[in-house]
Amino acid sequence: MVIPLLLGGLSLGAVYALLALGFVVVFRSSGVVNFAHPALLMIGAYVIARVSAGAGRPFLIALLAGVLAAAAVALVVQRFLVRPMSGRSLIAISIMTLGVDTIAQTEIIRRIGVDGYLPVADPWGDRVVRAGDLVFPQSRVAALVVAALVITAFLLWLRYSSWGVAMRAVADDPQTAALMGIRRTTVTALAWILAGMLAAVAGLFLITFPSPGLQPVSGAAALRAFPAAIIGGLDSIGGAIAGGLIVGIAESVVQGYAADLSFLGAGVHSVVPYAVMLAVLLVRPSGLFGTKELYRV
């Protein structure tokens, strides 16, 4: 009983890690709390669902389309809404992204239509993997594998590619990076594009089996990225991944043992990410791997 729960939690956690990563990348590079992150997830998932199931195109084309669509919207938001506000209060920009989220989510929900959900034609369908007694959906295995690959690719890119180094430089020491000729605006645009791409991939795995498809409530899953990002420490890439995994496993285990935990009240699995987060923050106020802020007097 425990193994499937842990596996499921790992798979879910990998998806949350993708979401938390996208959120942290934007926060690190521009200090903006991106309230439109759920919208990016929905946009990516919507395009993938439409192109694969609606228009019947090959899945890889649909996936590419979804990733590009989310990245494009993220770039448009950064270029035309966030950048003109550069130098202004961060909280004002963050609330502005709230307006973007309202518009984008309203439109996607309208397009989902009265059926209430949009199916996606992914290659795994509802097929399962069997290993002895264990039965596990292929789509969940795919989620874990793909998310791990994407995260690894991202970490490698961050470490070794010139743009990755530039991004880290700008996050660690903006003044020196500027002196070295790294254009801050380009790096920030890149961060937003990455956030869109990561959100789209995460969105795909939130709408595959055992979900029936993209629903109006699918965006709510992106909210769980917030505590995941905090648990790991908001300025830590590694922390975002750790935080995502912790939240996924905790949620999955609590859901599985809900009958034994009923004294905590019903539906406690949706509160668990926040309870874990509060517990972590009590012990480590900057998250598990976040750097403690240093203050200049």
Partner: protein, 366 residues
């Protein structure tokens, strides 16, 4: 009286005349806006003056709303209550919310910036969980009805009239709400202009320096949480009275984010801004929905493929939020300040000490 006082008196006089001039829909919107404004004043004090980001405002609103409901309701078959007079229950609920804020403040003192924000968000989720799972206290998922203020409720005997205007619940409630808002506003200005206000702003801008200079930082942070949660408590009581029912669903993350939007759109740290922002966020969606069938080119009914009126209303609201902040990140108050000053009032009126300027840390580098 100074120009400022004159303007305030004028605004109050106009507001007091409102029930004679506008219909129930607008009065109802006004009640919602006033209830929201009281809560928003508390948040703008916490965030704008003291620099503490809180996404947990709806938790304290719930404390006030449910506190009042529990204290003022009689014990019934489905849920308990203390049966106190509503005039006693209301201030007690405010104190209860303040106590909750005080209890949370040690945790808040350990956290900074966005970490504090998201931690308070956790408070909201925990709060909703409790609200739904303690039916004897809260009525569970279905919530509870809110005891009305005696003397300010609909007349059971039939409709009454005052000066030829139908004098129902909305008209009567208008005045206690207005009084509550006025009180909240005046207290805010008093705090902001006092030494306490300066200390709060010192904590906001240069926390370490303030500590070195001798400001007891933790105590003032706790004070800020106490006051803002009391404001939220009063706001919660007003919300409960305006809706006549409390349900757990109302007091979630969406409400917290809405209050944050109110104070940012209105202009951080400024009392008038909080009120304007509250009116904007609380009323604009309903107003847009009400008049949305005036927009051309919309779908007529559910079978049509176009954009329906309520959806268009939501689009417009999101666009309005973006537009206000894009044009003036200091919000509506910032827009108001832009208007060229006439012949200046004598220098005796000090410029408002309630302005929030972005600090180094907060300026973005997109």
């Amino acid at each position: 009286m100074s120009r400022r006082r004159l303007a305030l008196a004028g605004a109050v006089a106009v507001a007091a005349a409102a029930p004679f001039l506008i219909d129930s829909f607008w009065l109802q919107q006004g009640l919602f806006a006033m209830a929201a404004a009281v809560g928003a004043l508390g948040l703008t004090l916490l965030l704008g003056q003291a620099g503490q980001l809180s996404l947990g405002h709806s938790f304290f609103l719930a404390a006030g709303a449910y506190g009042y409901t529990f204290l003022a309701s009689g014990a019934g078959p489905r849920a308990g209550g203390l049966g106190l007079s509503p005039y006693l229950a209301a201030p007690l609920a405010v104190l209860l919310a303040g106590l909750a804020g005080l209890l949370f403040s040690p945790i808040a003192a350990r956290l900074r910036g966005i970490y504090l924000g998201i931690a308070t968000l956790g408070l909201v989720f925990l709060g909703q969980h409790i609200l739904a799972n303690a039916p004897r206290l809260t009525g569970g998922d279905n919530g509870r009805s809110v005891p009305p203020l005696p003397g300010f409720d609909a007349d059971p005997g039939g409709v009454r009239y005052l000066l030829n205007v139908e004098w129902g619940r909305e008209q009567k409630l208008w005045y206690p709400f207005l009084a509550g808002l006025l009180l909240a506003y005046l207290v805010f200005q008093a705090i902001a202009r006092s030494r306490t206000g300066r200390a709060l702003r010192a904590v906001r801008d240069r926390e370490l320096m303030a500590g070195i200079v001798g400001v007891p930082v933790t105590r003032f942070k706790a004070y800020a949480f106490l006051i803002s949660s009391m404001y939220a408590g009063l706001g919660g009581v007003l919300v409960a009275l305006a809706f006549r029912r409390v349900v757990p669903e109302t007091f979630g993350i969406t409400l917290s984010i809405e209050y944050l939007a109110m104070v940012v759109i209105g202009g951080l740290g400024i009392a008038g801004g909080a009120i304007a922002g509250a009116a904007f966020v609380a009323c604009l969606p309903s107003v847009l929905e009400r008049y949305s069938d005036l927009l051309p080119g919309l779908a007529a009914g559910p079978g049509d493929a176009g954009i329906s009126a309520p959806v268009a209303g939501k689009f417009l609201y999101g666009a309005a939020v973006i537009a206000v902040l894009l044009i003036e990140p200091a919000g509506l108050a910032g827009l108001a300040r832009r208007r060229p000053r006439r012949a200046p009032a004598p220098a005796a009126t000090a410029p408002p000490a309630t302005e929030h300027t972005p600090t180094d840390k907060e300026v973005s580098h997109p």
